[in-house]
Each structure stands twice: as C-alpha cells, then as structure tokens.
C-alpha cells in the first residue's frame, strides 16, 4: 500500500520525515511512503529544499494520506485551488494529520463531530472551525487520525503501520529506531497512544 505524505512549502521537517521514514521501514512488506508536493520542489520552514517524490494527483490513488504541518498551513487552507487538489475519501483511505494539518482536515469537512489533536499555535484556528481540540498526543476514529506535537508524528506512523500490517510490524519498526536502551518503553508508549489499532473505532 502506498502512503502520500503531503508536504507544503514552509513544512516542518519533523512532521513529514518522521512519518515517512518510519513507514518506509516497512517497504519490504509493501507499505511505502512518498513525499507528495504541490510543486516539483518545496522549501521547509528552515530553508531546506526537497524535491517531491509524487505530485498532488497521487493523493487520490494512495491508500493512506498524511497531511504534514508547517508555518504556512493557514495560506494552504485559504488557497481554493490547492485545497481542491486534496481529494480525500476516508471510506477507502486512511487519512491522518499532524499538528496544523488538522486545519486542512477541518477545512475539508472531514472531521465531522470528532475531536482532534494539534499543536498549541494551531489550536485556536482549529477550534475556530468548530472542532474540539484534545489535550492528547493522538486520536483516531475509524479511518481518520490526528496527532499533536511534532514528535507525535511517530504515533501517526505507528497507527498506519498497525492498521495496514498489524501490531507486530509496528513493534519491529519502533524497536529498531527507538533510542538504544529505551526500545521497549518507546514501543509501548507508541502502541499505547495508538491503542494498537483496537481503540480506533468509536
């Protein structure tokens, strides 16, 4: 299954790359992530130029779509043309958002009555969309998930891996990348936050 990690200009490297790098540890099992961008090259909030691996059309065909965060998300949601390229369908896709990415899901009307996680700076803007913001790192209902705090992108990745390949695959990935001597703690924290796929349906 293919994962689109949607990455806009001004993106936060933590969001796009923690999620994509963790998911790409599962490439041998057929799960792979691609940095998906609205232009051939995007520039991060810290001035790093990254060449997109897939164009925005890829969003419609991916099995999983993760919306990254950044310093220009409010411009993104005000851009009708850009927003129209995000054709998401949670009935057949897993859809996740990191930090300010929750604002994109709210703008697309995908959150419905479900609460969301985000970062402190994005919080008032997400709330202005009528969405309740949780003081938690991760929340998922059915096929939609949000995470708050950039390092929580590991929970989005854990959710995707668990939903697509199962808990053992997530354990393998987290066990490998976790700080040495803290593997077990990291794995249990991530699977606990995600509910190991069990608590994802309300």
């Amino acid at each position: 299954m293919q994962v689109a990690v949607v990455t806009f200009d001004g993106f936060n490297e933590l969001d796009s790359f923690i999620a994509s790098a963790l998911i790409n540890r599962c490439r041998k099992d057929g799960l792979e992530a691609f940095v998906t961008t609205p232009a051939p090259v995007v520039t991060s909030m810290n001035g790093v130029e990254v060449t997109g691996q897939r164009p925005m059309d890829f969003v419609a065909e991916a099995g999983v779509v993760l919306i990254g965060s950044g310093v220009r998300t409010r411009e993104v949601v005000a851009d009708e043309r850009l927003i129209s390229t995000l054709r998401l369908d949670p009935s057949r896709q897993l859809v996740g958002a990191q930090c300010s990415g929750a604002l994109v899901l709210a703008r697309l009307g995908l959150l419905g009555s479900m609460p969301a996680c985000t970062d402190v700076k994005s919080r008032p803007f997400v709330e202005a969309c009528g969405v309740t913001v949780l003081d938690e790192p991760f929340h998922a209902e059915e096929n939609i998930a949000t995470a708050g705090g950039c390092l929580a992108s590991q929970y989005l990745a854990t959710w995707v891996i668990t939903r697509v390949l199962g808990e053992d695959a997530a354990r393998d990935v987290l066990g490998y990348v976790a700080p040495v001597g803290e593997e077990r703690e990291t794995v249990e924290r991530a699977l606990g936050a995600v509910g190991a796929g069990r608590a994802t349906v309300r």
Copy 2:
C-alpha cells in the same frame, strides 16, 4: 553559533532532520543548523532528494558538527577524499554522531578511549575500530557525543542546545515539539539522557 548537520548520500532522514529541526527552533537565539553535504544534492535511503544548505567546507568553520547516519556510511569511511573533508577539532567544536555516524568519528580517531552509542547494525563495525559500544541511547564526554537509535537524535539536539544556550532553552524546544500531553515526560527523558550538561565531562 552555527551547526553543520553532515548528511551523506543514503542518509536516514530521522537523523539529519530531527537534529536540525530541533536546533533550528533556537534560531532566534543565534543557534542554527544547516544540512551540510558533499554534493549539491544528496539522496536519502528512501529516495528523497535534498539540496544541501552548506558545502563540506562549512564543517571547518561551524561551532558544532553533527554526523548523521545512513545506509552508506561504510562507503563514506572508505573514501579517503571524502573523509579528508571532515576537518573536525573537538578542542574548539562540539562534535556529535548519530547511529552509524559513530563509525566516522572512530575512523577519524576522535573517540580515543571513550565508549560510543550506535545502532545494532553499525555496532560490529564500530567495535571493529576498537571502540566499546554502550547499551545506552546517549553518551558524551567533554565536547564529543554519540547517540544510538534514530529517534535518539533528539538527545544529540538536546545536548547541543543545552551546551550552547543552557537547559532552559532545551526545555522550551522540547516542550513545544513533544507530543501534546507528554511534554513533561519527553523533556525530562531528554534532559535526563543528556545529563542536562552536567554529566558531559568524565
């Protein structure tokens, strides 16, 4: 102070971007990180093309040099020309390495008798250089640090921020990027691993 995050072809995005993104949260305080590469563009282990922000010459003038990890580090240490561009001087620079980056420090003869942290795949190659590998996520002595497990790159960043700007600055950064609802736990774990700058001199 400027930080060179040395990033080779085949690099692991977690290593270079967790460290650089966390450090760049301190740009307003004069501490900033630059992706430093041996070619104008490098390609990650997952096929992501990134344009370097600084050439390798920058290593000699940076106040801090962090060596990232990747799938081609053994080729890097076998490349005399490339290794000769890494002119590091721990008497005036902070020098850190992530996962297989420890192999680069070993190759440069910078570890002396100090033990190092690395990942499980790199471990036998680091040990073959006569270096003792610790089952710990982070270890520093004076101006040299190593971290093991890709997500432990947050400890390298914490060490740099603590050494240059102090513990409060590190608390601010980690408090902002940590998963919402887990800020305190994340901050304490990171500062604990680093010893908050207090345990860095043997």
